[in-house]
Symmetry: C2
Subunit: 793 residues, 2 copies
């Protein structure tokens, strides 16, 4: 954007040097005096009664400081939405990996030895694994028999479904009259799509150090995506006030991707610390990450669309079953929010969506980059190509015809703003060069192109507070609480402060990560909300600080406050820039805040403190229909903070003999509102593409009767540089549909490009070899089988 000198530039990450030199410290690097190491014993059964636990042998080992079981933990259950989980299982285990006992010892080795000496006796119970079966009325197994009965409209607003006992939440959307819509349709297309469990695979597993203080308060060092959410969960579980729980971010975090929102290690660590009085570090093994560290939610989606001959969508009916596993975690929230993935892109006069959160005896799920939208769009964007095929229309044109535009009303009643998807689509379609028809390649390989639209809402409400200190030497210190999970947020946020003060990012110091000191940020680095919300808070804080500086400066240079500006450490008069005073001079002058009685010897140490508060409020909506009242929508009311939009096009090679799929080329265009740091936007997009390819083709936490059979990187394949298209074949476009509330128009961009990859690949495969894959991942075996079926084999 014209006139900007720091934002809009591809500033190199401020933490780059620390990270490549190994200087960056993670939770695992932190050691406290007297610290113990915790380890957890887990259930080998998917569903069982615990009949007895004998801890005596374990307790007698030298170096073991505490052994705790379900008898030691609060009767109270916790969880981010449904209170369904004990810190350690008390009577019943519900999945393979359910924590049963924990040990704190002088070393990890001693703790592990002690685990082996714990003797637990179980009485096995029948288990249920199939989501659809679990969802049915009169299911063979009920996972939780004793959930509190919530009513709609009461807190928490969970909608239970009386005759479906494994459903812990139902969300609904009703827009127009879907039955009338289907009557008007020339064609009705119905399909069932499924997605599977994938793990986030952050290179740093879950870990924390918990210290139960002698005054009853807690101090936690942890790599979390939200220190304030962690505080909130711990307050609830242990009946403490916010001021009694201090969560300190372990400065750097080795990847989050949604997995580090829920608490995994902290509650057990706290219990062990309470028992020993010493700090306890608890770190998950990689195996625990797969069995008990949370996965993406598997979806079963039935989608039924009504369209006119010309491609106009007239009705959409979706029924989605979300497999929670044994405990709901953030699943009910995803059940609510996944609906937004279906509302953002297309004009649909009549829509009906039901989303059910369903318990099974599989490992619990959690939030994952894309937060439900990836799964919803797997169905929708595959379905769009099916419709185009059936109507004989071009898939791109079909999409163009139905796209929402700025000022349209979407299916929640929200008036659409900042929608750059058409430009994204144009860029990708053009870059994929013409028709997405298949061409013969050499030997068994067939080439195909496909694309899909993606979107990702950013959740509201969000409250972010920032403090900006301007020091007498003109340097800026920004206090905020964004969580650095690898995305580089502090670099972008420093750019905003630097821009506001007309200095380079070197003169901005970022301070974050301590609920006792850094300002409030309600839900942390989740839902691609950081840049938008914390960025705005910082901008406001800078403006507050500048106003104070200008007040002092205006008096010195005899000018009006509103005529003043600041750049390169000097305040000047806009109409006469020769009228100026440096920050240092200002702070040491006798009229300044604290000149010190002996003039310039007294270092310019005064500090101006500016404060900014940014709140993104959600519009109220009808719980039965998810609709926003019209008058609220007219005033700009919205459910999501904003929508990020993106389109991905891929070119694949499919081996018709083996079913192998190679992604040869990716074109990704993202509407980021305004690219505050273009290079980092591109990196987010490339990261989304890589994760998208992995989730499309290989990734699956494979379960055998509820037990993870591939809990390691040897058997669970994540995408690596070997499987990625060559870097010159990954093309990224940044599109700017500025958001009126975004800082400089910017929106978040961390999750959007995770959402369209899988359907783009499926569409490309169809265009290559004419088979439609409806279940993720699109493994070689699966492609091979459908090719055989198609060939009538």
């Amino acid at each position: 954007m014209a006139g900007h000198s720091v934002v809009g530039k591809s500033i190199i990450r401020l933490d780059a040097l620390d990270k490549v030199t190994g200087k960056a410290k993670y939770c695992e690097d932190l050691k406290l005096p007297g610290m113990l190491y915790g380890k957890v014993l887990r259930s080998p059964y998917p569903h069982a009664h615990i009949t007895s636990i004998d801890t005596s042998r374990a307790e007698n080992i030298s170096g073991v400081r505490a052994v705790i079981t379900g008898r030691d933990v609060p009767e109270k259950r916790y969880g981010p939405s449904v209170f369904d989980q004990h810190t350690l299982a008390r009577r019943v285990v519900r999945y393979v990996g359910d924590p049963v006992a924990a040990v704190a010892a002088d070393s990890v080795e001693v703790a592990e030895r002690a685990l082996g000496l714990l003797k637990v006796e179980y009485e096995k119970l029948p288990a249920i694994f199939d989501i659809e079966e679990a969802w049915e009325k009169n299911p063979p197994v009920i996972v939780h028999r004793d959930l509190p009965k919530y009513e709609l409209g009461k807190f928490p607003p969970l909608r239970l479904v009386p005759d479906r006992p494994n459903v812990c939440h139902l969300r609904m959307l009703r827009h127009g009259d879907v039955e009338r819509g289907f009557k008007e349709a020339d064609l009705i297309v119905e399909n069932k799509f499924t997605t599977t469990r994938i793990q986030h695979c952050p290179f740093e597993p879950h870990g924390s150090i918990a210290q139960a203080e002698s005054d009853g308060s807690l101090t936690i060092w942890a790599g979390r995506q939200s220190i304030f959410l962690a505080r909130q969960y711990l307050c609830k579980l242990f009946d403490l006030l916010p001021s009694q729980v201090r969560v300190i971010a372990s400065h750097y975090i080795g990847g989050g991707f949604g997995s580090k929102v829920t608490l995994y290690t902290e509650p057990i660590g706290v219990m062990l610390s309470m028992k020993t009085g010493r700090p306890v570090k608890l770190t998950f093994s990689r195996e625990e990450m797969f069995s008990s560290g949370g996965t993406r939610i598997p979806f079963v989606i039935r989608i039924r669309d009504g369209v006119k001959k010309d491609g106009t969508l007239v009705a959409r009916d979706m029924e989605m079953l979300l497999g929670m596993g044994a405990y709901a975690g953030s699943g009910p929230l995803i059940t609510r929010n996944c609906i937004y993935g279906a509302v953002a892109t297309y004009r649909i006069p009549n829509a009906k969506i039901d989303a059910y959160a369903v318990y099974t005896n599989e490992p619990p799920v959690t939030s994952f980059r894309g937060f439900g939208s990836s799964q919803v769009l797997w169905a929708i964007e595959s379905q769009m190509d099916v419709i185009a095929e059936e109507l004989g229309l071009d898939a791109v044109e079909l999409r163009r015809k139905n796209l929402l535009e700025e000022g349209d009303t979407n299916i929640t009643g929200e008036i659409v703003h900042s929608i750059g998807i058409r430009e994204c689509l144009d860029k990708v379609a053009e870059s994929l060069e013409g028709s997405p028809k298949s061409k013969m390649e050499g030997g068994p390989w067939r080439r195909g192109k496909g694309l899909a639209l993606g979107n990702k809402y950013s959740m509201a409400p969000t409250a972010a507070v920032a403090i900006v200190k301007v020091k007498g030497d003109g340097t800026i210190e920004v206090h905020e609480s964004a969580d650095e999970i690898g995305q580089g947020c502090h670099t972008v946020l420093a750019q905003i402060a630097a821009e506001e003060f007309g200095v380079s990012v070197d003169e901005v110091k970022m301070v974050w990560g301590d609920t006792a000191f850094t300002p409030y940020f309600s839900r942390g680095s989740t839902s691609q909300r950081t840049t938008f919300n914390v960025g705005n808070a910082i901008r406001l804080a800078c403006q507050d600080a500048k106003r104070q500086i200008f007040e002092i400066a205006a008096e010195k240079v005899h000018a009006q406050i509103q005529d003043m500006d600041i750049k390169d450490g000097a305040i000047y008069v806009r109409s006469d820039p020769s009228q100026r005073i440096s920050v240092t001079e200002l702070f040491t002058s006798e009229r300044a805040l604290s000149p010190g009685e002996f003039g310039d010897y007294v270092e310019p140490s005064a500090e101006i403190l500016g404060k900014g508060v940014w709140v993104t409020r959600p519009a109220p909506s009808d719980p039965e229909t998810a609709q926003i009242p019209e008058n609220v929508a007219r005033m700009g009311g919205r459910l999501a903070g904003f929508f990020g939009y993106g389109v991905q096009g891929v070119e694949v090679l499919v081996n018709i003999e083996t079913g192998e799929v190679k992604v040869e080329k990716v074109v990704a265009a993202s509407d980021v509102g305004y690219p505050l740091n273009p290079k980092m936007c591109e990196q987010q997009i490339e990261g989304g593409v890589a994760m998208g390819i992995g989730s499309a083709l290989w990734e699956e936490v494979a379960l055998d009767k509820g037990k993870v059979v591939n809990p390691n990187f040897g058997n669970y394949k994540i995408v690596t540089s070997i499987n990625m298209p060559k870097i010159e074949n990954v093309k990224v476009f940044l599109v700017s549909a500025p958001h009126k509330e975004g800082p400089y128009g910017a929106k978040g961009t961390g999750e959007t490009q995770m959402t369209p990859t899988a359907p783009a690949v499926a569409n490309a495969i169809y265009n290559a070899v004419g088979v439609r894959i409806k279940d993720l991942p699109i493994t070689r075996e699966r492609v091979f089988r459908v090719l055989r079926e198609k060939a009538g084999g």
Copy 2:
């Protein structure tokens, strides 16, 4: 004051339990991993050239990690006002105790052994000890031959006196026409008074831990009276930016009394840490406290007063010589500010004051509770009794006749505000019961009563910033940077926040003491400025937070913001208190900042952040006359932030055979503006009385050719419970002359009652036995001698 529920109450100190149980941690309690211990070798000579230092034997001891000398430290000199001091002496030592070399070792014992092996050769130089001799033109010794030549009006605004080479600063006051005044006088009284060096004797000696970080920045843990001043001094000395120096307060500090403003241990600790890369703790021994830890400034005061027969003061001429010792420290600032001690109480149409800061080869001085006013008032308040005696007037009536009143103009041109001294005088005079004439007591003991007026300005400028967080549970967290030096500031400050929110102090958490986190407070807990300035900042921060809360609440309860108030965790409508909502309810409601998507399960964790900035600005004044321009004064301009006033009356017994003096009774009345915590005000006053009695009767750092001969509590007598009057004989009155800018009208009160004790005692002695002591301390020997002289012995 009516309507207050928390301020005005004698809340028990929040830190009382920590202090009496030993839980409170001081700098000495802190140990860092790998920490070394530093020790300093000091000069045995008052003035000498260093000809050689041999460090080789010391360096070879096992456990010694670094030895540094003047060769290792910057050529650059530092100091809070005059740049006259090297971190370690480079070529010349100027007092007995001047640091010459330092050692860092694995233990204090090893460090001390190493000191003994350092071989330093000196070439002795002639030294000067007498202040008046040093002040003369052509003095026999010049202490600093190479000071930079500062000009008046330039930074720093030190006025050197060309023909007096040991004077490093001259301050002047000119008001009216003093010569004409003397011509109008019926009586001229001239006297010379002196004060001596006393030490602050904090129970915790100076100490710090310095860590030179690998990126060139510094982290310092220290018990300082101002973490921000410490940062400022370190920035200057080591050429660092404020953001590169972090000073962390060692939570509790064992007494300051002015001694912990200047840096003593930190610069040497930093040099040792730079050399070793490890944290270095450096703690003064008690002997070092006496030789090198700073003392109160000895004054030589010539005072000449012209009065009318009826007692009206018409002229005052004061010439004051302040003995800096070898380095000026904060002495030049005291030279400027001690003048304010003479301006606060009496109406004087014609005045002239000259105050000279004079170097000698004695140990350096520093700020001390009273900051020059104690010494100035020693002369003035003794002189007032002399005048009364000579005119045959009652000493109380003489004072009453000349008192300044609200709205008067004082001798700096300032218009007097918040002056409760007349009420203090009335209370004390009445409580002393009538005439202060002596009465015969049994045996050799004679009884006498006397009183004196005291005052203490609070310096401007001051900038204080506070942050107040309101948590969703209604608890309040206050971030500020007042330094807890034993005075209990955080209790009073918590009361202010509690009052503003209508909660008890238990619901207020105070957070302080880290330049990297807690908000700016320009000069820390010095000059009795904390309650006034930080208190105001907190009030403003609370009001900012309340405004935000009321904005949200007003919408909920359908009321006007200006009609809302808060109490006991609930916001209500003033005109209809049944219209209310609790903070918890507000923060969890859907319209609140961060309800969390799942209602009340999501703990009320939102935080409202309020900010307050308070700046006390000084009026400009003429450097030649110390006068404020009339138009500035009319608009309320003032040199000091405010004046605290107090009167002390004492009853003494004097032994005419031995000269012994016993203080039998003390009556002290202080104008505190408004007593936010009456009990704590009384405790400050009692502390001032105790310290005042010690300084009046016994305390003296005795020097023999510049060497301290009583550097321990065996030979340096401080006041103890044995020497104090019985507690029932110490009567304290609190007087309230509310200050229009003070929080609830309050002013500071920490220093005022240190200022009148000594002259009150001298006046009582005169009234008991008819001899006038003009030199402090009033030792038994001194009284004995003047009694002998008077008896013609």
